[in-house]
């Protein structure tokens, strides 16, 4: 029996076949999938903010792109994933409301995506595919059996990246 593992907001988990892993209703947050294609080990983290060092209250490491990605790598390696083989797919980082302001605080979706890309680049984890930005929410489902990330949005045809 295969299960669907749910990852909530500011949450992370790992997933092996035949299970799949999902996060529902991503808005300005970013969902990051890491994957070892050889061993079929995957993990997902749903981060809310770019940088834990800029925030005083940072106990929940899955909340931030920097600490969340590192923790996910640690967990995946602990179950046998090869650090050097990891690849990534990312989705989310939408701007849900069309704020007419230059206030950088409100452009958090875009800043989240930029931060995630920078961190993955620094860790030398290639991003194979992304579906980011725009102004709509996304539900994402990753299947470690074939490495496909399915993206569902309201009023749009499901896509696979």
């Amino acid at each position: 029996m295969s299960q669907v593992i749910k990852v909530g907001m500011a949450d992370l988990n790992i997933c092996l076949p035949p299970d799949t892993i999902t996060t529902l209703g991503l808005g300005s947050c970013v969902g990051i999938v890491l994957y070892d294609p050889g061993k079929k080990i995957s993990g997902m983290v749903h981060v809310m903010l770019p940088d834990s060092t800029k925030i005083k209250n940072n106990e929940n490491i899955a909340k931030f792109a920097d600490t969340g990605i590192l923790e996910l790598i640690k967990r995946m390696v602990a179950v046998g994933a090869s650090r050097a083989s990891l690849v990534a797919k990312i989705a989310g980082g939408a701007q849900m409301f069309a704020f007419k302001t230059n206030n950088d605080m409100l452009r958090v979706g875009g800043r989240n995506v930029e931060a995630v890309k920078q961190i993955l680049n620094d860790l030398k984890i290639p991003i194979l595919a992304e579906d980011t930005g725009e102004n709509y929410g996304r539900t994402i489902v990753f299947d470690p059996k074939n490495g496909e990330l399915m993206i569902k949005s309201v009023g749009k045809i499901n896509k696979v990246i």
């Binding site: 907001m9 808005g27 947050c29 809310m48 849900m96 409301f97 605080m105 929410g137 996304r138």
Partner: protein, 205 residues
């Protein structure tokens, strides 16, 4: 001003915040009911301290499609006010406001979005003005912003704001209507932590 500890609020503080939800949402529901000329019931407000991952469950699950109208609060109280309508309720309201204009309901563009935004503006205004009277504080709000999407995606915006200061979100939530009535949805008031202290202090707590 004493800092409010989200995890250690006493029952009096909870009751006061609940009463704020009661008065604010009461006024807003009356305004909504008058505008649409339908009966709208309101439930007892809840004050919830939630982990982020529990947040979307408050409004019917992360994938529940809702219309979210968001106003940023400025002045003595900072934070966000959200007025959330179930998808059907949003369509119903648009239909009622656009009677006889022969528009297709699935095409929620332009004029219809403006109409819905304006409804949100009036309703949220009723909520905020009663809050302002009660606390004797000046509360101003931004223009309304509207999005129609999955509840999780819409709630990510206030959640991220809260994420900067806490691992939990404290929200004053009032549900109105139910699945059987014509119009149902939620009012959610999410002041910043500092503003919670200000609200409580203004009421002598």
């Amino acid at each position: 001003m004493e800092e409010v500890k989200l995890d250690h609020m006493d029952s009096i503080q909870f009751d006061v915040l609940k009463e704020i939800g009661n008065i604010g949402a009461g006024n807003a529901t009356t305004a909504l009911s008058k505008m649409l000329n339908v009966k709208v019931d309101m439930k007892v407000p809840k004050v919830d301290l939630l982990e982020f991952k529990e947040l979307p469950d408050v409004i019917g699950g992360a994938e529940n499609i809702v219309a979210g109208i968001l106003l940023q609060l400025e002045g003595s109280i900072e934070g966000m006010m959200m007025f959330i309508l179930e998808e059907d309720a949003a369509k119903k309201i648009i239909e009622m406001m656009m009677q006889g204009m022969g528009m297709k309901e699935e095409d929620m563009a332009g004029l219809e979005m403006s109409a819905l935004k304006e409804v949100g503006n009036i309703i949220a205004g009723a909520y905020l003005s009663s809050l302002s009277t009660l606390t004797n504080m000046t509360i101003t709000s931004s223009v309304p912003y509207l999005a129609m999407d999955m509840a999780g995606a819409i709630l990510s915006v206030p959640a991220i704001e809260f994420g900067r200061i806490s691992d939990n979100a404290l929200l004053i939530e009032t549900e109105f209507g139910d699945k059987d009535t014509e119009v149902s949805g939620y009012f959610i008031l999410i002041p910043t932590l500092k503003s919670y202290a200000a609200i409580l202090e203004s009421l002598g707590l």
